[in-house]
């Protein structure tokens, strides 16, 4: 690890200011991703601002019937919260499908959104990688790319975003609240948080240096049944090859509408409005699920070892939508 200095932040604005003032500073929350990357020499901050003690660790009901989730709420606490389990089971399920009991106890809501890709070339400092070392090339393009993206990728980078939680939050239309070094606050929709790799894969989000995530706001839940399905190489404690967050509003065997977001296939949770519009557009549920799967994977492109993801994603979508609709597939 490169040497660094350390400070514990006492309030959110001061924390943002402390990082904004120094280009080589970084926030640390649970540390489960950052400490790992620092050990590997991938992240080399010279100054750490510890935000884990900020009083951003509560979940509160909002006036519109939604929830405010503080950025320091741990993944385990969020998954177990009775309000989340009751109204947003999709979010509980996505969190519980991720990492391990130990990691979820340390991982924070803010840190989870900003965790880096698990691309093995990104974490290996001996190989070229545009995300770690801009302009050096992308080793995954002609390399071992089984876990990589089939949607939204560019020749600059084909990495996927590894978070399960972010996929559920995207389907639930969550908003990310932040404060910047000069004290300004803003709200960013989940759909606008992550940047396209073609714009330069080294900058993954629209957040500026020193912009601190303070909370995630969930609007009231959409109507319908929520299901999260994760497909991976082992049954637990593994990242998604493909995951599907689905909400389907069905009554008397008739699909009225729904939401659909995919994980493991792109640099961000992948949500396609055309796919959602097909839900309810066809009279036979199975036909609308198949149409949604095709629409969601429109333009998908494999890089060799990950070609299987396209078919896997379509099948997982059909199955998950059927589960959510309560019809057997």
């Amino acid at each position: 690890m490169t040497p660094f200095t350390y400070e514990r932040a006492i309030d959110a604005a001061a924390a943002a200011r402390a990082v904004a003032e120094r280009p080589d500073a970084a926030f640390i929350a649970g540390g489960t991703n950052l400490v790992d990357l620092m050990k590997l020499g991938v992240a080399r901050p010279k100054h750490l601002v510890d935000v884990s003690r900020l009083k951003l660790d509560t979940i509160a009901e909002s006036e519109d019937g939604g929830l405010f989730i503080g950025a320091q709420v741990k993944n385990s606490a969020l998954a177990a919260d009775a309000r989340v389990r009751g109204a947003y089971p999709l979010l509980s399920r996505a969190l519980l499908a991720g990492a391990s009991g130990q990691l979820r106890n340390a991982a924070s809501t803010g840190g989870n959104l900003l965790q880096r890709t698990r691309c093995p070339y990104f974490t290996n400092t001996a190989t070229p990688c545009n995300k770690r070392s801009p302009g050096s090339g992308c080793s995954a393009l002609g390399g071992f790319n089984r876990i990589h993206a089939v949607l939204g990728a560019s020749d600059a980078c084909i990495a996927t975003h590894p978070s399960d939680m972010a996929v559920a939050m995207t389907a639930l239309d969550a908003q990310v609240r932040t404060v910047t070094g000069d004290g300004a606050t803003r709200e960013i929709p989940m759909s606008g948080l992550y940047r396209d790799p073609a714009q330069g894969p080294e900058a993954e989000t629209v957040l500026t240096h020193g912009e601190l995530i303070t909370a995630v706001r969930l609007p009231p839940p959409p109507p319908g049944r929520q299901v999260y399905r994760k497909v991976r190489d082992r049954a637990s404690y593994a990242f998604a090859l493909v995951s599907v967050a689905a909400v389907v509003d069905a009554r008397d065997g008739q699909v009225l509408g729904g939401r659909l977001a995919l994980g493991g296939v792109a640099h961000k949770p992948w949500r396609v409005s055309e796919a959602e519009q097909t839900l309810g557009a066809e009279s036979r549920p199975e036909a609308s699920f198949a149409a949604a799967a095709d629409a969601a994977l429109k333009g998908a492109h494999g890089y060799g070892a990950n070609d299987f993801k396209i078919d896997l994603a379509k099948r997982t979508i059909r199955r998950t939508l059927a589960d959510a609709a309560g019809v057997s597939s």
Partner: protein
């Protein structure tokens, strides 16, 4: 134990001795070796930071390079070598300890972040003469072979049962709205963050089940 005593032990006794030591998180044959040297640090002299926390009920003050993980602070500075360094990347669970009663991977957190925290390691759970019920259950069920993952398994399982008691659901919990039935599938899923390269999993599950049914936690 002298070398001659050691040689006189039958193979079974040797196994039992190392098995008992594993459940306590102490080194057996390695016990005579000097503690590992602190890892070499890159770069120039670092400013140190003071951290005060409670480890196994005893207040401690350490002056640390901020790069020191909680795991290294416990092993290298407090010489509590029960918590093990397996992968050092949060992928194996051998370093599991409890902070404020909750299990975490001590390898992925910096010691300086734990000012004022209460840390419990395998050494704080029980002693040879006074085993924690989970340690006793691991012994009864042969819940290990080489024993390297065992301190992490035991710390993890003790905290895991508290999570169940608090009603926390898991990935395999079918209904998020009702009380948890601690099936073997639930135990396996909840313990998936602790790998055992000897694959003693059936006995680990049996030990945890036994301890949970004993209700002595």
């Amino acid at each position: 134990m002298t070398e001659t005593d050691f040689l006189r032990l039958s193979r079974r006794e040797v196994l039992e001795a190392s098995v008992a030591a594993a459940a306590l998180g102490v080194c057996t044959s390695a016990a005579a070796a000097p503690p590992e040297a602190a890892p070499a640090l890159e770069g120039a002299a670092q400013p140190t930071f003071e951290v005060r926390f409670t480890v196994n009920g005893t207040p401690k003050t350490l002056s640390l390079d901020p790069r020191t993980t909680l795991l290294d602070a416990l092993r290298e500075h407090l010489h509590l070598t029960g918590s093990k360094k397996g992968c050092d990347h949060g992928q194996c669970g051998a370093c599991t300890v409890m902070v404020g009663g909750q299990r975490i991977n001590s390898c992925l957190t910096l010691a300086v972040m734990h000012e004022g925290d209460e840390v419990t390691t395998i050494e704080g759970l029980g002693a040879a003469a006074d085993l924690h019920p989970m340690q006793a259950a691991f012994l009864r069920h042969d819940g290990f072979q080489c024993g390297y993952c065992t301190p992490g398994q035991i710390c993890s399982s003790v905290a895991m049962l508290k999570e169940v008691e608090a009603g926390w659901p898991s990935h395999v919990t079918e209904d998020l709205g009702i009380a948890i039935d601690l099936t073997d599938a639930e135990i396996r899923e909840r313990m998936s963050g602790n790998l055992c390269r000897c694959a003693a999993y059936p006995n680990i599950v049996a030990a945890i089940r036994d301890a949970s049914e004993g209700g002595a936690l």
